[in-house]
Structures are given as C-alpha cells and as structure tokens.
Symmetry: C2
Subunit: 210 residues, 2 copies
DNA sequence: GCACGATACTCTATGTTGGAGTATATCTAG
DNA sequence: CTAGATATACTCCAACATAGAGTATCGTGC
C-alpha cells in the first residue's frame, strides 16, 4: 500500500469541501493549483481510484444516458488523513527551469538563443499575472465563488504575483544585458556580473547585521 | 529510441567542457544546477549510459586497482545535438510548492500548521543564499574555478538570489499575517487580501499604460 | 592497521508526464 | 432540425524521475 502523496492530498482537499467528479476535480486542480502543483488529467483519474483503495474517499457511479461518471466524496478516514498531512513536514519548493540550464551552458549558444531561453520566464510571468488579474477582480468585485477564501487566496496570490514579478524583472534585465554582448567586452560583461554579486553580498550582510 | 531530455543536455553540457566520470558529473550537477534542475544521482548514472546508446557520448572504462570507473566524453554527434537543443523551444519554468497547497486548503489547518508550511519557503531561501554568498565571494576574490563564466553565472545568480528574496519576503510577511489570525476578524483578514489584489492590479495597469 | 569518507556503481517500487485513443452528451450555428 | 464543435468521462502506455537501500573498493588520517 503506497502512502499518499501531495497530489493525493490536493485531491482530498477538494473533496473535503464537497463531492466532485474526476473531471471537475481535474478542472479545479488545473484552475487553482496549476502554478504551484501542476498535474496532468490522467494522473487525477489514477489517483482518485487510489484514494478509494486507501479508504480515504469513496466513489459513486451514476449515469446520464449511457455515459457513466463517478462522483467521489471524502470519508471520515480521509478527513483524518488530511489533518495528519497538515501536521507533517513540508517539502521545500522545487523549481525546474530549462531556460536557466541553457543559460548555464550559454558558451554553446548564440545571443539570440539566450534571449529566447530567457524569454520562457517572461511567458510564464505573463500567464501567471493574466490569471491573477482575473482572480483579483473577481474578489474585489464580489464575484468570487468562495468569498470566504479571500484571506487564504491573498497569501497564495501574493506569492505567485511576486514570483511572476521576479521572473519578468529578471527576464527583462537579462535580455537587456545579453543584447549588449555582441558588441561588449569580456571586462564589461564580467563587471556587470560582479555588480550583481556585490549587491547580493551587501544585502546579505545588511540582513545578518540588522 | 527515446529522445534526449533536458537532463541529457545538462550532462552533455558538462561533457562539452571536458570528459568526466559519472561521479564527477553528478557532483557538478548537484553543485551547480540543483536549484533549477535537481536530479538524483542514480538518474545521472542511468542517463550517461543512455547518452552512449544515443551516440552522443562515449564511455571509456578504466581501473584504479580493482575498482572500475567510466570516463565519459562527448562525440561530434553530441556537440551537434547540443547545438540543436539550444535552438529549440524552451519549457516554461516549473514550480512545485507543497507548502502553498497546504495554505490553499488552510481551512483544514491550524495557524501553527500554516506557519510551518510557509516556513518551507524560508528554508529554501536560506539554502539558496548561503550557497550564493560562497559563489559570489569566489568570483569577487578571484578564487573561481572558471572565472570566464562570470557573465553567465551572473545571470543565473541574479535570478536565484532574487527568487530567494521573494521566497523570504513572502514567508516573513505571510507569517506575520497568519500570526494575527487567532485574534483577528474575518473583515480584517479579507481587507489584507484585498490590499494585495489592489496593489497587483495597480501594478498591472501601470505596466499596460506605461 | 583501522575507521571513515570518497568514489563508483545497481536495483526497485512508485509517482509522473504527455500524448494517443475511445466514447457519449450537450451546445451552437446555419 | 441537424451537423459539427466542444464538454464530459474516461483508459493505456512508454519513458522520465525519485528516494532510498544496497554493495564494493579506494584513499587518508590517526
């Protein structure tokens, strides 16, 4: 019997609110968690079944015409499992950033290719913020489906929005720098990097003193 | 024949510099890419073999006493593959953040549990910046193994350092907020969230106007 | 000479992706 | 009214990936 994963609890969390079909569950996970817990649809279909074998959810089969669907709901054991999870150690946030890998091996790339690699950060930033603006307006204009969730949503929003801001800021400033490289000198390029290093160390020292 | 993945190219990138043993490769990947392309050691051992079957690397077996080791080097086909990769589309950065999932379902958690979930961001921020300070000093004091890499390292450093700054800023401000919740009101908590939403929308509007 | 850390791997269960494949139900435009 | 598009509701598979355990040998410091 495999233990439950964060993906299991992400589904269980939704089931703790009300019963859902897997399709709806996949939709909610996609809409709400995609930027910090992305999982493909087929994984959700697998995992709902797993939740049932673990006894933390139960599925009820019904039909609309000849097409069946399963509505899942949480069991008392599921609620207890969710509470136990909340008490457990948290994994550190995990980042995978192919564009940065290309920058790392940028000696084998052209400046144009570096520009494109960096661009992938901006694309994500735009996506996050486009979604964010919609959510923010829904809350502010009282059109949100769960207005009570505003305080929690605010925390998540704060993280994601500023994550996006960092992605964008970095992308723009890095693209600007790389654009100068074809006509720049090694010294100039190195000096820019040293500037970055110095700023960071100053920040760090200020923090350890303060 | 499975296509090469970013992990393949991450290894190939190292091999484009000089030949390495898998142990050294795993070490370099860990030291240099762990914050934006983390892969377990056993994966590297698997993948070096795969690179050989794909013809992009070759392995030379030798012995120190009775213990063997394999030194991998890149082939001409490997260099071409690396160049092709550089031209290809980039995946968007990917984030997995269990702590945020717990915050999302925070209705089922205690404030202390939320505090702990948020803390996981700070732990990573400290890790990134502790590693960053060492690297920055190495470059600034001329003790770096590859001083020529400074311009590229500067770009990567800039992203990671500020990613860490955002993690820390968010963690501290969110923990401060959550700490008030046991004695706060729903209105106050919602107002804080609305403040976050409004700031974001203003930022967004300023950007689209400017 | 021995303990311990570094080097050099292998193995396995399970999680996960991404894409293809297969239906049926419902909505929308003509 | 009907055809085509879109939404709903799944299944299947190869390959990537993790985490942790397991197994050796080599080199260094005491």
């Amino acid at each position: 019997m495999a233990a439950l994963t964060t993906t299991s609890y992400a589904i269980l969390g939704w089931l703790s609110v009300r019963p859902w079909t897997t399709y709806e569950l996949a939709q909610q996970l996609r809409r709400n968690l995609r930027f910090f817990w992305p999982r493909v649809e087929s994984r959700i279909y697998q995992e709902t079944k797993h939740l049932v074998t673990e006894g933390v959810a139960k599925g009820e089969r019904s039909y609309v015409g000849r097409r069946g669907h399963t509505i899942y709901s949480i069991t008392p054991k599921g609620r207890r499992a969710l509470a136990v999870w909340m008490r457990q150690q948290n994994d550190r946030p995990l980042l995978e950033f192919e564009g940065l890998v290309k920058v790392f091996f940028g000696a084998s790339a052209t400046p144009e290719q570096l520009l494109a690699a960096i661009q992938s950060a901006k694309v994500l930033a735009d996506e996050i913020q486009a979604a964010g603006v919609i959510v923010a307006r829904e809350y502010l204009e009282g059109r949100s489906a769960w207005p009570d969730r505003a305080p929690l949503s605010g925390l998540i929003f704060d993280f994601l929005w500023n994550h996006a801001e960092n992605l964008r800021r970095w992308a723009e400033s890095s693209q600007q720098e790389v654009a100068t490289w074809p006509t720049s000198s090694a010294d100039k390029k190195t000096e820019r990097a040293f500037q970055v290093f110095r700023t960071a160390i100053e920040q760090d020292e200020k923090r350890s003193r303060g």
